[in-house]
């Protein structure tokens, strides 16, 4: 039995230690806002926060993160930066199909938490790991800047 700290709550889960966090969230805890896209940390759809860091949950074994705080898309709106990012996403109508946007928002919140006034190069560096097949990149860039200005 492993104990995970997710969105401020402790969860006991009976899973193998090598099981990636993604599948624990989705299949065991029914936190389906975090998405599966590639399984090899290439697309960013599964991005969550481990502490303040954006991490790819599809390659993160749960045995390695016991006791450390995990935040998912379901709870990010409760943080000031998360709330600003979600609002900017809606104000600029970033979203199309929406499947990648949980991961985009988690990466953007981590960026703005570390770099409150990001330049384009900062945005490129922080967001290039998140693929959007609908091609919302133009608006993602604009929304990150808008959220930064609101902070």
């Amino acid at each position: 039995m492993l104990e995970l700290q997710i969105n401020g709550k402790a969860h006991q889960v009976d899973v193998p230690e090598n099981m990636p966090l993604l599948w624990v969230l989705r299949d065991v805890l029914a936190l389906t806002g975090t998405k599966f896209g590639c399984g090899i940390a290439q697309c960013g759809a599964c991005t969550v926060h481990l502490g303040d860091q954006a991490v790819r949950s599809c390659v993160l074994p749960v045995g390695s993160i016991q006791g450390r705080p995990i935040t998912t898309i379901e709870a990010i709106g409760a943080t000031p930066v998360g709330e600003r990012v979600q609002k900017a996403w809606l104000d600029l109508e970033v979203v199309q199909c929406g499947y990648c946007q949980s991961g985009q928002i988690m990466s953007a919140v981590a960026l703005l938490s570390a770099t409150p006034r990001p330049e384009d190069a900062d945005i490129d560096a922080a967001m290039a790991g998140n693929i959007c097949r609908c091609g919302t990149y133009v608006r993602i860039r604009a929304a990150i800047k808008k959220a930064a200005q609101a902070g």
Binding site: V15, P16, M19, P20, W23, V24, R26, D27, V28, A30, L31, T32, G33, T34, K35, F36, G37, C38, G39, I40, Q42, C43, A45, T72, I73, E74, G77, Q86, W89, L90, E93, V95, Q96, C97, G98, Y99, C100, Q101, S102, I105, I123, D124, A125, M127, A128, G129, N130, I131, C132, R133, C134, G135, T136, Y137, V138, R139, I140, R141
Partner: protein, 730 residues
């Protein structure tokens, strides 16, 4: 943001109702009112051949006593904003506040919810607004006219003395008002009007505004439920693997190691695939990797991309089925020199961000399915066929779609999932890994194009184009495949916006060995406009003309497109000097009932690496329902098209797809994304489609910019960086 066959762009998207009564009314439970109305078939030459000429009511609006309006939506939301746009049209003509309209997804039922542009219940081909524009307006206007009639009767005044606003009928002279909700029982007894007056375009207060999307709030907080998120009680998780060679069969399975993995519950072996069922996806995936499967690879075990290419090239020597012929091309060509070129474009996967998945519970008396797809009635039908149950025993819960692009116009995955679920005594979520999603798919066809043209007096005097490739329609909509001609395969080639006196376009069907093909965003025009607009650019160069001027002088018959071209030439700074190895390219198109002109600006370094700097688009898609959605669809469509032009191809070796995941089937990322400027042309014409056009325009505009930058003509995709470098250094 879809893909699918398009209605002929030469047809008017206006589809006037010809029947006497188009609206039916009835009382709903709780004192509400239900309005049923008909979305008539579009008079298209292609798919509508399979469409009945006359529909029973196939769309439904419910008005409740509190004034809330519920629209039963036959079209599927996949990010294109269709829930919002169709609701806006209804709210406009009915004259209710937009936030009183909500949407429910229609259940599978071709008889009720067929897409009039396609003949069955499908969302694709940028057809939704085009098909629903007039019927939705007429239904809203008809309902509003009846509400006015009912209120006027209450007040004993002339209906023409009454107006409406935000859910109320108003008699201005006596300052009286009645809410719609109070009039419903009276309306239910009225005869629907035959020709209710529509609002004048300049009276619109909602259409043409950037109303907020209805589907997005839950997509930023993790609450939106896609098919992959369905978790019915007791669900098990399966991961599948089909034969790596198309058409191969399972010969032998050694499952000893897989059975030893914690959480693995069951191994399912079917004739053409294996699946492992577990307590969670991880167990199933581990189990699948531990299986040792021997395949009987069958007839396609040696297929290579080179073989496919050679077959297409050989087929291009054959005479094809004539798609369009005007004047006398042969005679023209015999009179002087011509320009010739060969083009080809590769197989493409859709790589939707939500991988293929389908959750199924097969019980003795029913089959229940949780999925997101673009063809609900086909989903139901294939499950009925596999299980032997009648269609009414197949319950389909459709979900939001994490990217369609044509892939979810297919039900191959539904069939596989149902076959697996038949072996499992519980609901089972069948998951495709990304590798399986890319390697066990249906693909945009590999096309080969042979072109020849003649110039006289700086204009195109004769044009011959032979399109060679797989026919999607022959498989997907057989009644639309008429006399060997695939109207989708030649869409964008058979009708040019230019005046060309001698014109001949042919289609040669050549199916690739074993490789299944399907629609891909932008459908026929994605391939054809790349070829046509690149070749037009070659002819401009041959004629010694500026590419914009060359097009402008030949677009007289297509004034809406000419106007778009003028806007992008101005807004892009066309003709102004650029640094060395930076170029601008132009592309124009008339497709999906919309007109689009684009100028791309790109630079190429000495190694041939490309940076796309900027795209400027002008689009005339008729009356714009939601301008922000139009801009978003063009932006996203361009990124989708640039991704393909710069990065994408599916190749085959030993009968196997060689790409597997985003590391070797690359997507454009944010650091590569150019600036995109979209200019919407003011128009009072009927609305055209907007999901596909951005994808269509990207590759030709970019390829022509690369020619301007380097002098190297791009005649195949994806763009070969080495060829661009060789010219620079050699």
């Amino acid at each position: 943001m879809s893909a699918g066959p398009a209605p002929k762009s030469s047809q008017s998207p206006q589809a006037p109702l010809s029947r006497r009564a188009f609206l039916k009314v009835g009382a709903a439970a709780g004192g509400g009112l239900v309005l049923g109305f008909a979305i008539p078939a579009l008079r298209t030459a292609g798919l509508a051949a399979a469409t009945p000429a006359f529909f029973e009511p196939n769309a439904f609006i419910r008005i409740d006593r509190n004034g809330d309006v519920l629209l039963t939506m036959p079209q599927v939301e996949m990010g294109q904003g269709i829930y919002t746009a169709i609701s806006m049209i209804l709210a406009e003509e009915l004259d209710v506040a937009f936030d009183r309209v909500s949407v429910e997804a229609a259940p599978p039922d071709d008889a009720l919810y067929a897409n009039p542009a396609l003949g069955f219940q499908a969302t694709g081909g940028s057809t939704s607004i085009l098909a629903f524009w007039m019927p939705m307006r007429q239904a809203g206007a008809g309902a509003r006219a009846m509400l006015v009639e009912a209120a006027a009767a209450v007040w004993k005044v002339d209906p023409t003395a009454c107006t409406t606003a935000t859910g109320e009928v108003i008699h201005g002279a006596s300052a009286r008002k009645l809410a719609y909700g109070a009039l419903l029982e009276r309306v239910a007894r009225l005869q629907p009007p035959k020709n209710p007056p529509l609002k004048a375009l300049n009276d619109f207060r909602l259409i043409g505004t950037a109303a907020k999307r209805l589907d997005t709030p839950d997509k930023v907080n993790g609450k939106a439920v896609f098919g992959i998120d369905a978790l019915p009680p007791g669900v098990k998780f399966a991961v599948l693997m089909a034969s790596p060679v198309f058409g191969g069969k399972v010969a032998h399975v050694d499952d000893g190691a897989a059975r030893g993995i914690a959480g693995v519950r069951q191994i399912v072996v079917l004739d053409d695939l294996v699946a492992v069922v577990g307590d969670h996806t991880w167990a199933a995936k581990q189990g699948l990797e531990a299986l040792n499967v021997t395949w009987d690879e069958g007839a396609n075990a040696r297929v290579t991309t080179e073989e496919v290419f050679d077959q297409l090239k050989a087929a291009s020597e054959r005479t094809g089925v004539v798609a369009k012929s005007v004047g006398d091309v042969a005679h023209a060509f015999s009179s002087g020199p011509t320009v010739e070129a060969l083009y080809h474009v590769p197989f493409l996967a859709h790589a939707t961000m939500e991988p293929m998945n389908c959750t199924v519970h097969v019980r003795p008396d029913a089959c229940e399915i949780w999925v997101g797809n673009q063809v609900l009635s086909r989903t139901q039908a294939i499950a009925a066929k596999v299980t032997g149950l009648s269609k009414d025993k197949v319950i389909v819960h459709n979900h939001l779609i994490g990217g369609g692009f044509g892939r979810r116009l297919e039900v191959d995955g539904i069939a596989k999932a149902v076959r697996i679920a038949q072996k499992v005594d519980a609901p089972v979520k069948v998951m495709w890994t990304r590798e399986e999603d890319i390697q066990q798919a249906l693909y945009r066809p590999f096309y080969f194009d042979r072109l020849q043209a003649q110039l006289s007096d700086g204009k195109i005097s004769a044009w011959k184009h032979r399109v060679v490739g797989s026919s999607i329609l022959a498989r997907w909509a057989p009644p639309a495949f008429v006399n060997g001609l695939d109207s989708d395969a030649v869409e964008g080639a058979a009708e040019l916006p230019y005046n060309v006196p001698n014109f001949h376009v042919e289609y040669v069907r050549q199916e690739p060995p074993g490789v299944p093909t399907c629609f891909w965003r932008g459908v026929g025009p994605t391939h054809n406009i790349f070829v046509v607009e690149s070749f037009v650019d070659e002819l401009a160069h041959q004629a010694g003309k500026d590419p914009v001027d060359f097009r402008r002088e030949q677009l007289a018959k297509t004034p809406r497109l000419l106007a778009c071209l003028d806007v992008v030439a101005r807004e892009s700074g066309w003709g102004q000097p650029l640094p060395t190895r930076v170029g601008r390219g132009v592309s124009v198109q008339s497709a999906f009932g919309s007109y689009l002109a684009t100028v791309a600006e790109a630079e190429v370094d000495e190694h041939g690496e490309i940076r796309v700097r900027r795209l400027v688009c002008a689009v005339d898609c008729g009356v714009v329902v939601n301008p922000d959605t139009v801009v978003a669809q063009i932006e996203g469509g361009i990124i989708f098209g640039l991704t393909a032009a710069l990065h994408s191809q599916i190749t085959l070796a030993r009968g196997r797809v060689q790409q597997s995941n985003f590391n070797n089937y690359r997507m454009m990322r944010i650091n590569e994304a150019p600036r995109i400027e979209v200019h919407i042309m003011h128009s009072t014409e009927a609305p055209g489609g907007i999901g596909e056009p951005g994808t269509v325009t990207a590759a030709p505009a970019l390829a022509n910019a690369l020619f301007a930058a380097t002098g190297v003509r791009v005649r195949k995709l994806p763009i070969d960086r080495k060829a661009l470098a060789a010219k620079a250094t050699g």
